[in-house]
Subunit: 339 residues, 4 copies
């Protein structure tokens, strides 16, 4: 039985609490949140204990792993403390908004050979994963192009966005990681954006829509489309074009009901509304992956370096947005975290 | 070049005129209709000549084939005259509403070894035909069940229905023929119906909805669903279940546009509205089949016997509707027309 | 917290154990199965206790409800004992294979005003349920026809089928209940069948394929297609045609991946394999319905009378199969259980 | 009746000959091709006359319009001669590969106020057109993003590609025009490409795959994906995301048949193979648009300026590919041809 401490009891914290609860070989030892009511709610629902202070949870010798689901600025500190306490870590993305800080963090913990997994849930979505496996199995020959569509149902609040790090670090970062899952190392980034959704996003100096083009080491092109608004629901799709075929992932519906009437035919209901619905199985598979890795003594994936690389791509995208130029990503980026 | 005389210039006559017009090896020599304005319209559009009397067209030595698209009660007479004049015939369904009359007709013409094709367009629909060919090619193993869905967008007028011969002889007859295309000889019929669409149909003593179950010689079951109303457009589908798979035919759209918005997703436009739209390619393929058969000196199919069998199934369905019993169709039915 | 005793630890017993386990207001107090290894497996997995005898579980005063998932011949006895012990009951379908025995059972327990729910899971499938709700909301006007397709991936073993009561009582019974969910009282049944799947089914005197036609009180026609084999996976579909539109339920896939290559396009993976996969959410909703009814002191639905009616339809279908005639179901059928 | 001269009897010439043949108000007066066998084939098929020299066709006073379907380097000369002869012109894309030559051509003919239509067929595809009309009707609110997928089934021959002007001028030019159809004026272009399909394309100094990002005047982003290979058939899709919904255009199948078997479900046949199949209705609508414009004395669209702008976008894309930078397209581009 793997014993978990959960740091952060907001929306995403609840998802992890639930995944731990239903996993047959996991238990939730502690929960912690500076907002007491949030901690209380989860503690009550899953019959577990609120830690009086974050260190009580981290330092408990009976705890095997720490899930970091707190506010982004706290990630690096909590991650470092958990690693030093000898715990495995599942840290929500992004590790931090500041790449230099991420690199310093790694320098501090690298020698400890830590078990750190980053919460890029899309790698564990059954559909994306099936495409990944079938490409590996040769179902579409050599991968030639990759298309990622990623649109949120509606923009987050002004308050959230103000500290989000911007579209690329907050939202596209998931797509950067998904692209790396399929392409491996990325050598070039181009990004552009627009403000078409909401004025308050422009006021924050952020964009609300983007198109990003990536080039993989072997020439494979990937393009990502983002928007902070998709009125028909969470839009999460992928197309992988290969020399021998295409595998695609479509959006998903809560039921298989279709309506035909005098004005239209075969109309489906709205899609699964947002990440809590669409990625529930992914979050569970993600946690299971960590637990299995811990049991086997292997490293979970995506790891710290993957978290670092996705952030580096976000930074490069921002540079491209500002300069209008393709930004090369030298192999040096790679060595820093892989060494 | 095959020269055609077209008898009957209503809605279905226009379809045949158009098929003849676009066929590279056919030409429209004469048109005839007791309603002069109907004849004039087609003659003008396709630059052809109105026959002053039906015999002028039928007896013209330069005419190779006669298309009978006139009112049902005239079919037998025109068919007989055309056959006697040595012409090939494409006769719209049904041959007649009276099976005895159909059998007498055959007795009169059988010795002439006539070339008679019956206008069961569904056999020439590219989708149904593809299923037929792929079953023959073994794509789904042995056929085990067949489902036919056939619904008209809206009921015809009271005047039309009053002389239509009833649902089974007027509408289901197409589905009976389609069933025979897949099942071969049918040995049992069960039929039931309901009045749920329009009161005036009940007033005529007719039904507006039906479920029919057929059993083929080798045990294959087929069921047919009919309705005089389908508010979402012409509903023409088929499912062929086999020991190794299923082939299905879905409805067809005029474009491949889909709409997703705040209340629904992937909504398609209405289906192709009615038989003139859905079966345009079928009508053309049907005519081409006749022309090719004439050129090769072979018999076109479906032939007179198929027209007769579909009507016999309609009669058996009516008997079943009235008695609530399964009606067996002895092999005798078969011999009569095939001998 | 509702405490359950689970009688029967086979395949379907495990499903119910799992539903109880994940329900926040349910707990599994006892499990019982004459085959000790089956009971042990579930007891271990869900950390519960094996009852040394069935009465120990039924008579435990702390137990609120009994789930009967044992072999069909034991249902009536266990149901009667559980009701007498004052427990709510969730009994798997069919109540029994013998309608007379079912009616005797009811006579014995009716006076106790029992809370008995029958495990017709399809009523709780989110897609079928959505169609039911949207019809009630008027989305397709008045219901005019209903089509149910229900095919198992592969026939059960000879041993299972030998005691199953035949296709209608074992398999179609689910579809009969689903038809009643939409049509209300059924007044006529026609059924026919065939043997096209496996010789050993014919040897047992059973059919392996069927077409059934039902007529509802208000004239609505329903037809059901069954087969013991569907090589492409569990085939569970429904179409509800109304005066203003059609609502359909399609089959469901484990992922939303599609493959296009040199020989085909948009090919989906196999469907969810069988009822354990397709109806997992339905089984959970079913249990939740019972729990909520118990908490509110209301009667769960479908109840004993629904179990009785579905069996009566199966018997009528068998009579129709044997006689080739439509079998009327008088309103008397109704009164017997509703009185 | 509009009388046409057809210059160029290759693959695309045959398409136009066929469109003229089936149009009720058009006739094919002359055909011309330097390769006599090509001219003979079309002349025979459509019962028309071969012009002994191109001027004979262009200068025939009874000819109303000239279709230029010859090799690209001949377009400017033929277009200029036809305009001087007072004929309306339908010129295949591109006008020329050299933007300066296109601009000189316009200077020579502008004063004649010519009727020149450029053969951008996609604007007449019923699906793309429906999306355009529904956006105009407000079905998806304000257009925010546009995605165009355009992949040929297989790369053209080395000989064809050597004189094609490269991917952007030969293939993407259709997508540039389609983008302009939806976005209006384009103010920025970014393009990148890769060689993943065939070595001989790289040897020619050309790319075989591309991603292009455009920005419209009002900020709408558009991205285009191209490949010279799509093993599953011609891939021609579009997604228009708006503030209130999304309209998409999917690929199209020759039939509505789907196959489900033991390894997959709902597999469709291959898509319509290539432009001759997919865009047949578009070519006919294109010709009808020209004829209707001529009859009404209005200017057909897309016109010369549209042909010029698409080429300017191709040139800008090439510059972006070479520099890795976003290329701005000043309003000057616009004025040159619109003045």
């Amino acid at each position: 039985m793997i014993r978990f401490a959960l740091l952060g009891c907001g929306r995403i914290g609840r998802v992890h609490a639930d995944s731990i609860d239903v996993h047959p070989r996991a238990e939730l030892a502690w929960v912690y949140d500076p907002i007491e009511s949030a901690a209380t709610e989860i503690a009550k629902r899953y019959s577990t204990t609120i830690a009086p202070a974050v260190d009580v949870a981290i330092d408990d010798a009976s705890v095997d792993a720490v899930v970091i689901a707190s506010a982004t600025p706290t990630h690096v500190d909590l991650l470092t403390r958990a690693v030093r306490a000898g715990k495995a870590v599942l840290c929500e993305k992004p590790i931090d908004l500041d790449l230099a800080r991420v690199d310093r963090c790694w320098k501090e913990i690298a020698a400890l050979n830590p078990t750190v997994m980053i919460g890029f849930n899309r790698r564990f979505d059954p559909s994306f994963r099936e495409v990944h496996e079938r490409i590996a199995a040769g179902d579409i020959g050599r991968l030639e192009q990759l298309t990622i569509v990623s649109r949120d149902p509606a923009p987050a609040s002004r308050d959230y966005l103000a500290v989000s790090g911007g579209l690329f670090r907050d939202m596209t970062i998931h797509d950067f990681d998904l692209a790396r899952f399929f392409l491996g190392h990325v050598v070039e980034v181009y990004a552009t954006g627009a403000n078409v959704v909401a004025d308050y996003i422009a006021d924050l100096g952020d964009i609300d829509s983007a198109v990003v083009v990536l080039r993989g080491e072997d020439g494979t092109l990937c393009h990502i489309t983002n928007s902070r608004r998709s009125v028909f629901g969470y839009d999460q799709r992928l197309e992988a074009f290969g020399s021998a075929g295409m595998l695609s992932v479509g959006n998903q519906h809560p039921t298989s009901v279709r309506l035909s009437n005098g004005t239209q035919t075969e109309a489906a209901p709205e899609y699964l509304n947002f990440f809590l619905d669409r990625y529930t199985p992914a979050y569970r598979a993600e946690l299971d992956h960590l637990i299995t890795a811990m049991e086997r003594g292997s490293q979970p994936s995506p790891g710290f370096a993957d978290g670092r690389e996705a952030l580096a791509l976000a930074d490069a995208a921002l540079e491209s947005l500002q300069t209008g130029r393709t930004v090369p990503l030298g192999s040096s980026h790679r060595r820093e975290t892989e060494a």
